[in-house]
């Protein structure tokens, strides 16, 4: 491979990984921004998106792309259910450290979902066809599959749609208002708890889309959400918890580091290098790229 080939491959991989990471991580950011919950069920929703698509294709003969819609619906409902079962009962409870308790309760919900899938579908990885088969050759050594192109189009399209929803629609603005100033939002008549449920539904649906798009590469299995969850955690912490813009920047930076290290040094180095980078960043700037400093506790 020539240097140009390696550069092109890194570029394509950075954009693809960055877009998918942004899609999954932005859901965590939204939930943290509105509810102050680091939602550990986001990885389970990625996994569920894959299973929803896989099961649909087993039951009915439909074009693969339609399974994205099924995954969105299933994960949205499960995201809302996770809110009602694992988060809502903790809201406003005196003497409860809400952030820490909800972090653990969403982790518990994720573990339950994962184990139910393990019982129902078994531990084996299930193959999943690309949504669109085929590829385009860029140079003799570098090519892009249609599925990769679709991943980028769908992920970026979903992020743009989310941005428009949050900034232009009445209900999207209401969610943004709850994130920016809860008391003021309530005084405007915005039902904060309904906004919380919707936010968790939207976050799960974004992860669900990610799950279908990742399925051809990572297969469909009960553990398929583990790596995306870990990567998303790195992205949102690197970004600064709750920062939408920071999450987008961080997703592409992390996407670049993973791609460049994998292509130039080998895949085995990608995660260790990522941990070194995140450690260095957190030591230098503990509140992340776009987060705000908090008061010291000790």
């Amino acid at each position: 491979m020539t240097d140009v080939d390696l550069f092109l491959q890194t570029l394509v991989s950075t954009v693809t990984q960055g877009s998918i990471l942004a899609l999954i991580s932005i859901g965590m950011t939204l939930v943290y921004g509105t509810l102050r919950v680091l939602n550990m069920a986001q990885g389970a929703m990625v996994m569920l998106g894959g299973f929803a698509a896989y099961t649909t294709l087993q039951v009915v003969s439909v074009p693969v792309w339609t399974t994205i819609i099924v995954a969105v619906l299933v994960t949205f409902v499960l995201g809302v259910l996770t809110y009602f079962i694992a988060v809502k009962p903790l809201l406003g409870r005196p003497g409860v450290d809400f952030e820490m308790t909800a972090f653990i309760s969403t982790f518990a919900a994720a573990t339950i979902i994962q184990n139910v899938c393990l019982l129902v579908f078994g531990p084996r990885q299930k193959p999943f066809d690309p949504v669109i088969p085929g590829l385009i050759e860029i140079t003799g050594a570098v090519s892009i599959t249609y599925h990769t192109l679709l991943m980028n189009v769908v992920a970026i399209g979903a992020l743009v749609a989310l941005g428009l929803f949050l900034s232009r629609s009445r209900y999207g603005l209401a969610i943004t208002a709850v994130a920016q100033n809860l008391e003021a939002a309530r005084l405007m008549g915005i039902p904060a708890r309904r906004a919380y449920a919707t936010t968790m539904g939207i976050a799960a649906a974004l992860a669900g889309i990610g799950g279908v798009l990742l399925a051809p590469s990572y297969f469909v299995s009960p553990n398929a959400g583990d790596l995306p969850l870990l990567q998303s955690l790195i992205v949102v912490i690197f970004a600064g918890l709750g920062s939408v813009k920071g999450t987008i920047y961080a997703a592409y930076i992390i996407g670049f580091i993973q791609s460049a290290v994998s292509i130039y040094w080998g895949t085995a180095y990608a995660l260790p290098v990522l941990y070194v980078v995140i450690l260095v960043v957190l030591v230098i700037r503990p509140y992340g790229l776009a987060g705000k400093p908090q008061e010291a506790r000790l």
């Binding site: 005196p94 900034s167 009445r170 603005l173 209401a174 943004t176 208002a177 920016q180 100033n181 008391e183 003021a184 939002a185 309530r186 005084l187 405007m188 008549g189 915005i190 039902p191 904060a192």
Partner: protein, 241 residues
């Protein structure tokens, strides 16, 4: 002005956990009135408005608005009924534009349908907000932020407004401007309950004054009646021995 009661507070006890701040408040505001609650800082004026809006729960007593009991209702339901609070200080959505802040004031369905009309009304009262429409709230001056907060409250098309210390942090020239606007809002038929520490600002606009001390309404009457009381004159106007 009619005299049917729009807001009725009876024996209200409320606070934040360590002993109640409000210790049996009785207050009635009639339709079309502009009632001002005055009193020293820390004696429960803001807590009273928060309790009426449902942000602070009442441990005893009742609150009725338009004949319906609202003491156990959620804030958003109370806003839906037409009772909106314009809170003290900087409670805007800082990263949203002035226009977005104002539009969120019209969240209740009835106001949302009339949002364009509402915007025109607010812009006619505060023309500066139209000029600043695309500017983020966090970049505004203190006076402009106060105008956004009042404008946002007006967007809700509420039949009654609760206004918490509108003069706080404003330059004297802006205080007069803001109070003129509040007076014109009240004259247009909106019932207003306002709390204020500084009596001098409200003398010209209030229909009735209530004096609040240590969590209770201790005196109520016309502006002249309340201000004629020697202790009020001494404490709030600096007149007397």
């Amino acid at each position: 002005m009619t005299s049917s009661p729009m807001l009725s507070v009876t024996g209200l006890v409320a606070g934040y956990g360590e002993g109640p701040v409000l210790q049996g408040v009785d207050l009635q505001v009639n339709e079309g009135e502009l009632v001002v609650v005055i009193g020293p800082n820390g004696h429960g004026k803001s807590t009273l408005l928060k309790a009426i809006s449902g942000l602070v729960s009442a441990s005893a007593g009742t609150i009725h608005f338009g004949g319906r009991r609202i003491s156990d209702m959620r804030t958003e339901r109370i806003v839906d009924l037409g009772l909106t609070q314009i809170p003290q200080g900087d409670l805007l959505f800082p990263d949203m534009t002035v226009r977005e802040n104002l539009l969120l004031g019209a969240f209740r369905p009835i106001a949302h349908k009339k949002r364009q009309e509402g915007l025109e009304r607010v812009y006619s009262i505060f023309p500066r907000l139209q000029e600043r429409g695309t500017q983020r709230a966090r970049t505004l001056s203190g006076g402009e932020r106060r105008m956004v907060a009042i404008g946002r409250g007006l967007m809700s098309d509420a039949s009654m407004l609760l206004i918490d210390e509108p003069s706080l942090g404003l330059a004297p020239v802006l205080v007069n401007e803001v109070y003129q606007q509040i007076a014109s809002i009240a004259q247009s038929g909106t019932t207003v309950l306002l709390v204020e520490e500084n009596v001098t600002h409200v003398r010209e606009v209030a229909n009735r004054l209530c004096l609040m001390e240590t969590g209770r309404i201790v005196m109520s009457g016309s502006v002249d009646e309340v201000l004629a009381d020697p202790s009020v004159m001494r404490t709030y106007l600096g007149v007397g021995d």
